[in-house]
Symmetry: C2
Subunit: 251 residues, 2 copies
């Protein structure tokens, strides 16, 4: 390739797309927005948008997240951790030349894990936003209102994000990102059960998570919000890598 006139290399548009996951009513759910513009106007899609001229990729992802949902995020990169921010990390980049019918668009997908939230507050240029259980989005496309086919290659991106979340909660403390700041062992267990889609033994789970150094930090309080005997409250301990890991039961 000849030196470096801007015309010497192909121009691309670069976007960020967001796989925003939460656990709602025992189901792993993703945030989807209704597109207000062509292409795929009126179709559901992952939130996202163009990266700006002077913006890093993770900044763009955090900005789009705030614009379209009102959520604040922190990733492994930033040092400040506002009390109740969601987890943000880069997922993968999608650059099929035909993935956007308009032009060549490379999309850097990000994964956001958030606690269960009040209804999403859509903003910007999206026509609506809602949580949908991931099985209704990555399963067979029935094309009704409960199984809307996603725009672009967003179904694939979502599937990759879900797979990442499923495997990452095994060996990291990321499952706590789905919990409120203070949570019980039972609530954390229901996160694992929802994300993996399996039932876990409450007794062995309790021993395991409380015995993994750095995973959980007791806050001293208790709650009975789940009914039954009062449960101790915990917050996420400092550890990011779990040793030993949580083992996902065989399929």
């Amino acid at each position: 390739m000849p030196p470096y006139e801007p015309s010497a290399y192909p121009p691309f548009a670069v976007t960020v797309d967001l796989v925003v996951l939460t656990v709602r009513r025992h189901a792993l759910s993703a945030l989807i927005v209704r597109r207000g513009e062509a292409p795929f106007q009126g179709r559901w899609a992952l939130p996202g948008g163009f990266v700006r001229e002077e913006e890093d990729l993770s900044e763009a992802a955090a900005r789009e997240l705030a614009e379209e949902t009102g959520l604040h995020a922190h990733g492994p990169v930033e040092e400040d951790t506002p009390a109740h921010a969601a987890h943000l990390e880069q997922l993968a980049t999608y650059g099929d030349p035909k993935r956007d019918p308009r032009m060549r668009v490379v999309s850097v997908a990000h994964l956001v894990l958030a606690p269960d939230l009040p209804a999403p507050r859509p903003g910007g240029d999206v026509g609506g936003a809602r949580w949908a259980p991931v099985e209704t989005l990555v399963g067979p496309a029935d094309d009704d209102e409960e199984h809307p086919p996603l725009a672009f290659d967003h179904r694939r991106i979502l599937a990759d994000g879900v797979e990442r979340a499923r495997s990452k909660i095994e060996y990291s403390s990321l499952a706590t990102a789905f919990c409120p700041q203070e949570f019980t062992v039972g609530e954390l267990r229901r996160v694992y059960e929802a994300v993996w889609g399996v039932a876990l033994d409450p007794r062995n789970f309790h021993r395991k998570v409380t015995g993994t150094p750095g995973f959980l930090l007791p806050t001293g309080g208790t709650t009975t919000r789940q009914g039954g005997r009062p449960a101790q409250l915990f917050q996420a301990g400092g550890a990011t890598i779990l040793n030993p890991p949580m083992l996902r039961p065989e399929v």
Copy 2:
């Protein structure tokens, strides 16, 4: 692209950068090339280049790999697996607005794992290519010929690639990508030892890898190329995910 004038979004250049790893003389080593052009002219860097107009990201990575090293690659995506291809997967994307002094460049880094090779055959517009042990590249930059500081943010990219390889050989069969098509259990063990930088018990290692279903497939042959008693030859079995995983000893 009617509704979308190109001026409505910022134009980016998109490149692929390659973290090409191999195990040479018991050391995990990376492929670096000497830059023939500004910026960072004469400095060592990761191989890479611009993505073309009609090319997917993994195609661009495979093309650059072939152009600059003569290696052929196959990823999890492509179905054809030419007899002796290197493993290729996407690593991460780097888009700091200041990472390239010329203009806004987003680089999609890829990770390539290859068996030990004859001296790399540089091609294209690079001034030279060599293997360097990764410690000499990601450690403190002494700025001599043995510890050359890499161009751009390539030291960070390399570090991320090395970390990915180190963790991924734990739970996947990827370590076999560092071996020739036929290899012995001892050769595979030396791969783990080099990548992790630890010593492993040869006897327990042997039992473990031969007992993990789908990891190794005996070819029937034997070799004495390592000296001592003849060793059975294996090739990679079909499995990609190891169950149980190889456990990296504690630090």
